[in-house]
């Protein structure tokens, strides 16, 4: 063994280069590329959507005769028609991108951070911390997710902040467990022992050896968390427990459903449904690429 390889073995790898590698990895998977393209388009629409929206999302449209312009089919004036309450569907639809992005982003950061910290501490140091964490996740995993969200949001009050809080409480647990077991296997690898023997500190080993090697699993989990968060917010809104002051796709579908207009007003139902399907599927397509890579037995041989 040469001196150079010894050095890299001890120095480890930068976290950012590991992240760059795992993003580059996505580019080799054509399904993941499709997912990334859709996701990119959605992020763009979330940023510029409110400027593109021709009307205020909750503004009631009037006809020339001064009556409520309800359930108007698509026209030049209202490209996606109007709702039963005379709101412009296209404007509501465009505002919906923003709320989906916010829910997904905040959940990704919160869940990704909490799961990683707990998973790494518990997996790396083991012992007492690990015991407590495992008992905690045992309990947390037996809480029915959607019913918990329904009850908690109803009791806390249906605001977007509370919805995100509940989503974070719900989904950190699975990630912590998955990351913990990944850390457990990394910890036992020979290079970690070398690094320890060479006098590397715990912080050094965690930051430069463990984390860079579990980046894919963290990314996989973050991707899935974003999907779950968006689905949970959409489900809550569809059940009528969303934030009534912001437009979301789930809420649009809730109003179309509860006002009994599913069949007649296709222009009101199809856009939010399609957007949700595209967004969540694109996240799953990205997640799948990581899944294939983190499971060596699935890699093409």
């Amino acid at each position: 063994m040469t001196q150079a390889t010894d050095d890299t073995a001890i120095r480890g790898r930068g976290l950012f280069s590991a992240m760059r590698d795992s993003v580059r990895l996505l580019m080799t998977d054509s399904f993941a590329v499709i997912g990334l393209l859709i996701l990119g388009l959605f992020v763009l629409l979330a940023l510029i959507g409110p400027w593109l929206a021709p009307y205020e999302p909750f503004k009631a449209m009037m006809t020339e005769t001064g009556r409520l312009n309800r359930l108007a089919p698509p026209s030049a004036e209202h490209l996606l028609g109007t709702t039963a309450f005379g709101n412009d569907v296209l404007s509501q639809f465009l505002y919906g991108f923003r709320i989906a992005l916010i829910v997904g982003l905040v959940a990704a950061v919160a869940v990704g951070f909490i799961s990683t910290v707990f998973g790494v501490l518990s997996g790396y140091f083991g012992g007492y911390v690990d015991d407590v964490l495992m008992r905690l996740t045992d309990i947390a995993l037996s809480i029915p997710t959607l019913p918990f969200a329904i009850v908690a949001v109803a009791l806390l009050g249906p605001s977007i902040e509370n919805i995100i809080l509940v989503i974070t409480i719900l989904f950190w647990r699975n990630g912590a467990r998955i990351i913990r077991s990944a850390v457990l296997t990394e910890r036992e690898r020979i290079y970690v022992k070398w690094a320890r023997a060479a006098g590397a500190s715990h912080a050094h080993i965690i930051l430069r050896h463990i984390l860079p090697n579990i980046v894919r699993i963290v990314f996989l989990w973050v991707t899935m968390s974003v999907a779950f968060a968006i689905l949970t917010e959409a489900s809550l809104s569809f059940l009528g427990l969303g934030d009534p002051t912001v437009v979301s796709w789930g809420q649009m579908l809730n109003i179309a459903f509860s006002s009994g207009n599913l069949r007649t007003a296709w222009w009101w139902v199809v856009p939010p449904s399609l957007a949700l399907v595209l967004l969540v599927s694109s996240l799953y397509l990205i997640g799948r690429a990581y899944e294939e890579q983190t499971n060596p037995r699935l890699r093409r041989r």
């Binding site: 399904f31 029915p144 019913p147 908690a152 109803a154 569809f238 009528g240 139902v269 949700l276 969540v280």
Partner: protein, 321 residues
Amino acid sequence: MRAYILRRLAQSVLVVWAVTTIMFFMFRVMPADPTAILLERGLSDEARLALMEEWGLTGSLWDQYVAYLGNIAQGDFGNSFFYRKPVWDVLFPLIVNTLWIAIPGLLMGAALGAAIGTAVGWAPRGGKLERSGIFLATVIRGVPNFVIGIALLTVFSSTLGWFPGFGMGDPGATTGFARYFTLDFLHHLALPLIAVTIYFLPENLLLMRSGVVENRTEDYIELVRAKGVPQRRVAWHAARNSMLPLITWLFPALAETIAGIVVIEIVFSWPGVGRELVLAVTRQDYPLAQAAFFLLAVMIVLANLAADLAYGKLDPRVVYK
């Protein structure tokens, strides 16, 4: 083995206790005024005080907690504000309704998923069948279950009129237990059942496909092939060994279904536990909401317990300690 079962049972009791404690915080501590959500409005002062005594809403937080645990241990969740009868009288008949769509839906999803998953896993890697199978499964997996419900409802109920999209039976249909064996019931069951099946199919398909891909390169497959067994039978060998994770996945999936089915029950107005939970929450009928939540949590604990016990039975490599 017996020691393992006992320990698992003790663990389950512990989890139920923890869930109850979480419920105590959710319903009693978190709200600004728990009496406002647990006692009906418009009661006289004496009646209010008497109820507060009975519900253990007086005294220190610790006293309240002990009283709360006592009530729950006795199965006393009080009366529903809306129905004006004990919550269990409302909820018990609904359990069967939920299971009626959860279990057959899950089994159908698993069976279809396993069949298609085997085909996809056995197909040449990188081929058309494999790629389109994975792509479609991943995309369908991303369809929120209420969107599946809405699509089925719009197409097969309102447009084509093939199936009813509301409730469990036409007005004036047979009631009681006999109703589960009428054509009318099966007719109403069809769409919600298909919705649950579609919801579970992709996940099963991908799981089965991974299993088959992992198994197809194992030595025993080479051996079977070398014996001159036809392709189809060789695939069956790989499939059978891939079923273990699928079967053990079924129990937690059942738990997840019972919880996640809420949305499908709402779309099809199917009178199950989950729909009642949502209705109770929107009607601010908190005793009923609390009991429904507890019921769902206990179902999950039982499903996980069953999964752990079944795992050992199915996989002889599992050693109980």
